[in-house]
């Protein structure tokens, strides 16, 4: 198994580098970092623009610039933004914000999604099954930014009718918040509810659809009937034999689901004013900033590939046949 996983890892690292190079080149081709400078009124002298061009290495060929940037990245230096702040300094904070959102969203999403899917399969064609099916169809047809807006609107209504700020929907903490640990925790949770819900709802809808059909396939299988014939209770047969088999295809889905999550996370961060990586990407593109864009791309590629690799690991753990390869 170790060789299988090691081979996948090498493959993923190569893809990661090429993908980042692709994004870097595209950004270098389409962005115009000195455009903003030249639009200033009165226009800055040519020498200033030339100095800026030299500083951003705009006149060198793109591969050379990429190698230079990558050399810095290896040493922990992600370059400077167009407004001359360090990318590396801001990076850990942004990653922290994004990962907190992603991880909580994924864990909540997968856990509830699997439960909802299994419940739907076991209670097939009951009212609850129809309700969750229709619900997940509607959520899957709703773009994340609209879902976020609707939740925000709903929270606004709740707050107004409750007459208090129960749910907060801007930022991740109250700026300049002072208080004890308990109060700080409550403050964080108040800020966390809506963004996490926005992320998790999509994940629940996505995973529960697949989990339901995987579970349905397992429910009709012979080995489950055999397990019950041997004297296992239905509950035990379902969870010990059924669920384990039904979880195997989910491991592959996990990698795809994570890609979905990253795109969704961009919208969520933007709508709720969380200064994470997705927010940074939008900012970077709007500011024609190549270094920020390349850094976020590298982050996304690493995340996608780590989740791909993790799903390989899960797959190997759940399905013994993969381990032998």
């Amino acid at each position: 198994m170790a060789r299988f996983l090691a081979r996948r890892l090498v493959n993923y690292i190569a893809l990661c580098l090429v993908a980042t190079f692709l994004a870097f080149s595209l950004a270098a081709l389409t962005f115009d970092p000195v455009g903003r400078l030249m639009e200033r009124n009165p226009p800055p002298p040519q020498s200033v623009i030339d100095a800026k061009r030299a500083e951003l290495r705009l006149d060198e060929p793109i591969p050379a610039r990429f190698v230079g940037w990558l050399g810095g990245v290896v040493q922990g230096d992600f370059g400077k933004t167009t407004v001359n702040t360090s990318v590396s300094e801001e990076l850990p904070r942004r990653i922290g914000v994004s990962l907190r959102l992603f991880l909580i969203g994924t864990v909540v999403g997968i856990a509830i999604g699997v439960v909802v899917g299994v419940a739907g399969a076991i209670r097939q064609y009951k009212f609850s099954d129809y309700l969750t099916t229709v619900g997940s169809f509607v959520i899957l047809s709703t773009p994340v930014f609209l879902l976020g807006l609707l939740l925000k609107y709903l929270a606004l209504e709740i707050n107004t009718s409750a007459g208090a700020q129960l749910i907060v929907f801007t930022g991740e903490t109250t700026p300049g918040f002072r208080g004890g640990f308990g109060a700080a925790l409550v403050d964080r949770i108040q800020h966390l509810i809506l963004p996490t819900l926005t992320i998790a709802l999509g994940q629940i809808a996505y995973y529960s659809r697949y989990q339901r059909s995987a579970m349905l396939d397992v429910l009709g299988s012979d080995f489950l009937r055999t397990a019950q014939a041997k004297g296992l209770t239905r509950r035990k047969a379902l969870f010990k034999h059924g669920l384990r088999t039904a979880l195997v295809p989910m491991a592959t889905l996990f990698a795809f689901g994570f890609g979905l999550l990253i795109t969704g996370g961009t919208f969520t961060e933007r709508i709720f004013g969380w200064f994470g990586m997705g927010d940074w990407l939008v900012y970077g593109i709007q500011q024609d900033d190549i270094n920020i864009t390349a850094t976020v791309t590298l982050f996304v590629a690493v995340l996608v590939l780590v989740s791909g690799w993790l799903s390989d690991v899960f797959y190997a753990l759940l399905d013994p046949r993969v381990r032998l390869r």
Partner: protein, 322 residues
């Protein structure tokens, strides 16, 4: 005895001897072409049919709305700023007196058109790439699949967003091409897999031994045999594209002014305040309804074309439960 005699004979004999379930099933479909059969199964699926009707109605409504709507999208009502829905302004008005109904219809039309066009272009790319990779194998296959893998690593949202500065002030058709360029990969992978098995089938081998050139074999023998999957995939792409396009437009990375799409409308409508919900709720509802309709059509088509598929089996189980 000619071939047509044989088939006619089989057709007439089947209903008479329908004693086993298999024969009964044959009798039900005797004398019906595959197309009609698929159509009948599709029409029987109420949700799918409703989806199709809703989608067609929405498109017609958006295209013909200038004929009957009281306000045009470029008219300003200086007597009604930021008013809620009324008899004159069905969806209300914006801060500068634009009619939200006219704007929504225009955005809906653009979003639907972009979705359909993108899906059409992407299926062409996918079938060419998938069929060539599967049919020729070797380095063609490896090269093409490497590109597919590469494009799959990065979310297409990210790539298009990075390219979008080049779109500023350009035609929306360019945006459609860009969307299509990053929408074909998964379909191409599936089609490649199908081509791999089709390539070894007798009729393809026969064509090859008769000297038919590869292009002709792909066009005449391989692609028609994958048509059903391609149709299903087009609908999936339409839904996914509409979601992607509105998302990109929401950030200003997609449809550029003066064009509007549902995404730009929702952004503009929610930018200042949430206390004027008619500015984004109607466009949002139209968006969800259209994507939902497309998804239902896709599900219905899958069941109609491939009776072995998930919900086909589900229905069988339901019958057994009773």
């Amino acid at each position: 005895v000619t071939a047509s005699d044989l088939t006619r004979d089989a057709g007439t004999r089947a209903p008479a001897t329908a004693s086993s379930p298999i024969q009964a099933a044959e009798a039900e479909t005797a004398g019906i072409t595959r197309g009609r059969l698929v159509l009948r199964r599709f029409v029987r699926n109420r949700l799918a049919l409703a989806g199709l009707i809703v989608l067609v109605l929405l498109y017609l409504l958006s295209a013909t709305s200038p004929l009957f709507a009281p306000w045009a999208y470029d008219e300003y009502d200086y007597t009604a700023f930021l008013q809620g829905p009324s008899l004159s302004h069905w969806f209300g008005t914006s801060q500068i007196g634009e009619d939200v109904f006219a704007q929504s219809m225009r955005g809906l039309q653009k979003s639907l058109t972009i979705g359909l066009l993108t899906a059409a272009i992407s299926i062409v790319i996918a079938s060419v790439v998938g069929a060539s990779a599967g049919y020729f194998g070797g380095w063609v296959d490896r090269g093409l699949m490497w590109i597919v893998d590469l494009l799959l690593v990065l979310p297409s949202f990210l790539i298009i967003a990075v390219i979008s500065p080049a779109l500023r002030g350009s035609n929306w058709i360019l945006f459609v091409l860009l969307l299509a360029l990053f929408a074909w990969m998964i379909t191409a992978r599936i089609l490649r897999g199908m081509t791999l098995t089709l390539r070894e089938r007798e009729f393809v081998k026969a064509a090859r031994f008769m000297g038919a050139p590869p292009g002709k074999i792909i066009r005449r023998h391989i692609l028609p045999n994958m048509a059903s999957l391609m149709i299903i995939d087009v609908t999936i792409t339409v839904g996914a594209t509409i979601l992607l396009e509105t998302g990109l437009s929401y950030f200003g990375f997609g449809v550029q002014p003066p064009d509007v799409s549902l995404g730009t409308l929702i952004r503009d409508g929610s930018a200042s305040s949430l206390s004027t919900p008619w500015l984004f709720l109607f466009s949002g509802a139209l968006l969800v309804i259209s994507v939902l309709a497309v998804n239902f059509i896709g599900d219905g088509l899958r069941d109609a074309i491939d009776p072995q598929s998930r919900s086909g089996r589900r229905r069988k189980r339901k019958a057994e439960d009773r």
